[in-house]
Amino acid sequence: MRENLSKKASAAGQGENPDGVDAVAISARNIVKTYTIGREGKPMLVLDDVSLDVRRGEFLAIIGPSGSGKTTLLRIIASLESADSGQVIAQGRPVTQPSAERAMVFQHFGLFPWKNIIDNVKFPLKIRGVKDAEATAIARDQLRRVGLKPQFEQSHPHQLSGGMQQRVGLARALATDADVLLMDEPFGALDAQTREVLQGDLARVCAQTSKTVILVTHDIDEAVLLADRILVLTAGPGRVGEIVDVDLPRPRWEYDVRAHPKYPEVRRHVWDLLRSHITEDGANDGD
């Protein structure tokens, strides 16, 4: 596990992909998306020619001002939304419909209130036709992995705290055995302390399972803490502003990342990028 980790860290950190195309888990090519409100409303450009590559096992954070199209981009990558032009490619093949190969973790948790916890986690497996006993075993494993106590298996979502519900959401995504996890502000609905604990757990789980992760977030600290690279989207229309390498040693849950000498530097850099876009956006609004 350790070797695996360090290999991954070096591949991500130095941006080398010795395996060529194979090392790219998912990539978006020239994504353009406009929304039209109503049939004759003025089309609004939301994403303007966005391209990105995510390497296998990499943790990519997408950050940007509100309304810059982060959610839209992630939904297009998940194929929950279609782009006007451009392509999403996973494992060398164009993506045309949603699939459990790219498992989503939702900001609103997305648990089925009428199913108990274990059945929620089993859901993607049952959809795929996995036998019940096997699905239960897998779901139990994943619930344990995300740190949910077994006594909650039979509870219903409303009986759990927000933090616990999102652990279930994470367990369900992990249960799919997908290589890619897509997360849209997964901790956005949680309080600060819970968020911090879950961030730590997410980092650990992702490292252990060597998933490729795309995380949309508002929170610069969260991005710096978790990500190998941070993609900064510019505001309206969303374009790729810059991709920032986070060159902090891993595994990061083993030390206080915020105390690392490089941390303020990275944080400041991302913040400067964001701020310039926010003010630019304000200037655009003027005319």
Partner: protein, 290 residues
């Protein structure tokens, strides 16, 4: 709005869910298109062509089928329009409508007054509310047709009997819905009113009634619908008068087009009253928001 917790078993719909069921969906309610650019008739066209097409297709299909079997028995739309025109021209339909309204409207008014009063009483007094609930539930669950023999013994087959049938059906849903609304009046508002030494009557007038209006209106919806049903029952089963009289006599003669023509007037009455209640509700909502 909160959903009232379910009490004892009852046949009445849970007011809020029933309401939600009839709120037009976004698809039907808001046609696509920007309000600024399309003119009103374009919007109207966009909204109304699907139901128009559907309605027309249904009518044509019905016409074809009934023509091929028995246009009179199966009330071919063309025959129904004919019958409708005939009933209007002879004045028979208008007379019948006036007769029907002559007990429908008073019956409904009595139900509204009694129902709201009873509902407020049951909502303000927990004990009486709980005590009377099973009786109201029983009356609500009692099909009025079943008590026709009793009504005839008690009130005869005339005007009083018809009023009784209508009121018996409509009071209960209005009372139940009102009392639910009264019970869900915000405790904070009640406390505020009490802190100003408001009397019970003042509290009812200024706090309880205004905040229960959505519930009262949802009770009125059910009450009105049941009043219409009551009128039909009274006309068909007590003595043949009004619109129901036409329905029954023509049904006995197998004159389906005439039956449908009279039934259509009932449908129209139902649609009109629901529209009116919806308009009242919107006005009150607007006035509340202001």
């Amino acid at each position: 709005m909160q959903t009232p917790p379910s009490q004892a078993a009852s046949l009445r719909p849970d007011a809020v869910t029933a309401e939600a069921a009839l709120v037009p969906s976004p698809v039907a309610g808001r046609p696509p298109g920007s309000v600024l650019r399309a003119s009103w008739w374009q919007l109207a066209l966009r909204r109304w062509w699907p139901p128009a097409v559907f309605g027309l297709a249904a009518l044509i299909l019905w016409e074809l089928i009934s023509q091929s079997i028995n246009p009179l028995l199966f009330a071919a739309p063309s025959r129904t329009v004919e019958a409708f025109g005939e009933l209007i021209l002879s004045g028979e339909l208008l007379d019948a409508l006036i007769v029907t309204l002559s007990y429908l409207v008073p019956g409904l008014l009595i139900s509204v007054v009694l129902g709201i009063a009873l509902g407020i009483f049951m909502g303000r007094s927990v004990t009486w509310g709980t005590l009377l609930q099973p009786y109201l539930d029983a009356i609500y669950a009692l099909p009025r047709v079943a008590i026709i023999p009793l009504v005839i013994l008690w009130f005869g087959v005339g005007y009083e009997a018809r009023i009784f049938i209508i009121v018996l059906g409509s009071v209960v849903p209005i009372a139940m819905s009102t009392s639910a609304g009264v019970r869900y009046t915000s405790v904070k508002l009640l406390e505020a009113a009490r802190s100003f030494q408001a009397t019970e009557l003042q509290i009812i007038r200024h706090v309880v009634i205004p905040s229960s209006i959505p519930f009262i209106i949802s009770g009125l919806r059910i009450g009105t619908e049941r009043a219409l049903v009551g009128a039909v029952i009274a006309e068909v089963f007590l003595s043949l008068t009004g619109l129901g009289g036409i329905i029954q006599t023509e049904a006995e003669r197998f004159n389906a087009p005439y039956v449908i023509a009279a039934a259509l007037v009932y449908a129209l009455l139902g649609g009109l009253s629901m529209t009116a209640l919806g308009a009242i509700e919107r006005r009150i909502a607007a006035w509340k928001a202001a």
